[in-house]
């Protein structure tokens, strides 16, 4: 295409680029710079070299959040890779009413995390439905502290993440399943392969790339977990904040009273590198297994 003035494309790009630069690139660069200073959230700050990063090494609160976040990833990712795939297989066949079921299974995705958190808080509280039933059936003597014990709170939040994410990844998998050639499945059936066998040897290898995609998305999502823990604990992250996650701590340190923007920025850089590392790791792992 000829005759266009050089600035025309930039006129089209300018508004969106301005938003991207102003609210992503600049804050990101700022985060990187601040992480080497002792800036407070109110302002100021002098260059302190790698002091913040050295401080991280001996910060129990930081390591607690890292451990909790890693545990979150370790539990949630396998669940979100496998369960939605099984669900997608279940709803793939066009039987009567399947459109309705698909839509309903997707509905938790549409609800906000706050709404999900309030609903689950009510289910899991000491006098909530789950504890009432467990006690009514004499399975437990006292109420299970789903929301008031730090570990159980973390697991409750994980369950909620899985509940809310199922439908989303189900739809992602449905798109992948639609691309599995019918002829291949039929050929396997003619060869006498049962449903499980067909799934393992025909479907699974073909949806593998999608599983890697889902694993990456779920891992990055879990690394950023915040709202689940916050809403299930009314903002406290459990007794003594022991269920704190990395994002929870970043917000606590960087934006709370006497916020330490510099120190929180160092944590933020760790989070950024962590998510970057996760996606690289998942991709690497996959390509290695594929070669094997």
């Amino acid at each position: 295409m000829t005759g266009r003035r050089w600035y025309v494309p930039w006129l089209f790009l300018l508004p969106a680029l301005a938003v991207a630069v102003c609210f992503f690139i600049v804050p990101f660069a700022n985060t990187a710079v601040l992480s080497f200073t002792d800036a407070s959230t109110l302002g100021g700050g002098t260059f302190t070299g790698t002091h913040n990063y050295a401080r991280l090494l001996h910060d129990d609160q930081f390591w607690q959040s890292v451990r909790n976040t890693l545990l979150y990833i370790a539990v949630v990712v396998p669940c979100l890779v496998v369960l939605p795939l099984l669900l997608a297989v279940l709803v793939q066949k066009r039987i009567a009413g399947i459109g309705f079921f698909r839509a309903v299974f997707y509905s938790p995705v549409v609800a906000s995390m706050v709404v999900a958190g309030l609903i689950w808080s009510w289910l899991l509280s000491d006098d909530g439905l789950v504890n009432s039933v467990l006690r009514g059936l004499h399975l437990v003597a006292g109420p299970v502290p789903f929301l008031t014990d730090a570990h159980l709170l973390l697991f409750s939040a994980m369950a909620m993440t899985v509940w809310k994410g199922l439908g989303y990844y189900m739809v992602v998998y449905l798109a992948a399943l639609a691309n599995v050639p019918r002829s291949l499945l039929e050929a396997a059936e003619v060869d006498g392969a049962g449903a499980v066998r067909r799934f393992r040897h025909v479907t699974l290898p073909l949806v593998r790339p999608t599983m890697v995609l889902v694993a990456t998305l779920a891992a990055i999502g879990s690394a950023k977990v915040f709202a689940e823990v916050y809403t299930l604990s009314d903002g406290s992250a459990g007794p003594g904040g022991e269920a704190r996650t990395l994002v929870y701590t970043i917000r606590e340190v960087g934006l709370g009273l006497g916020g330490e923007a510099g120190y929180a920025s160092a944590m933020s850089i760790v989070l950024f590198l962590g998510t970057l590392g996760l996606s690289v790791a998942v991709t690497r792992l996959n390509s290695r297994e594929e070669r094997a």
């Binding site: 509905s107 309030l118 025909v202 933020s268």
Partner: protein, 301 residues
Amino acid sequence: MTTLQTPPTPAAADPRRPAAPAPTARRVRAAAGLAGRYLLLALVFALTVGPFLWQLSTSLKGNGERVFGYPPQLLPAHPTLHHYAEVLDTVPVLRYAGNSLVVALGSVLTNCLLGSMAGYALARMKFRGRGLAAGIFLATMIIPFESIMVSEFLVARSLHLTDTLLGVMLPGAASGLSVMLMRNAFRRLPAEVEEAAILDGAGEWTRFRRIALPSVRGTLAAVAIFSFVFSWDDFLWPLVSLSDQGKYTLTVGIQYLSGTFTNDQRVIAAGTMMAVVPLLALFFALQRFFFRGVGEGAVKG
């Protein structure tokens, strides 16, 4: 593609195995399979919808009715809308919903307009710096918002955007995802579509407005819905950037409803329902676009 190379399985090669089950046996098995399928569907249905329904039931129960204890009382004996009125009296829910609506509709408008403009330039124009521009949008998709939120707050404060709805909206006003979805949609358009218009002497803006944009309405709808839901459901950024209660969006307001404003579970449940029902209604009305958006968004994300 290991599948294609695997030798025939022993079961398939076994000559004693009957070629096919008898017709009746097969029909019985198919019926059992179908029944099993519906049973599983019902189970998942209960797990997904159950929590919503329990919340709905709680919100409709009268003050004299039990909301806890065993056996659980699943249905309200005397359903009442009383607690919905109480929510309105306790917190300015309508105001919060209004704030959320302003932010969400603003976000839809900007993402559709700015996203399609940028996507169009990236897809249909050749110019120096195109790779750099695309790289910037990709970078915004890779950098987790959570990792820049402290600086985001500082930027917003220096622009006097904290405690404003504009400040809540702007960081998501032209998401990398919107730009990339639009770019991919414009790329799929055949070049001939525009060539006639070029011969007619139509300018770049006219071609974008009158020819390209109407051809990608499906993607535009997906971008609109994505932006709306993302903005409506967003919690962290409004929580960080708003401290004036009058400016709260619905997610932040509803979070404070529980504990801070009331301990009555029936009222909290009513508030939750008021926050989620409009969105569920939107979803069931526009399902098609939701699913389409997920398919495209995930692949490119």
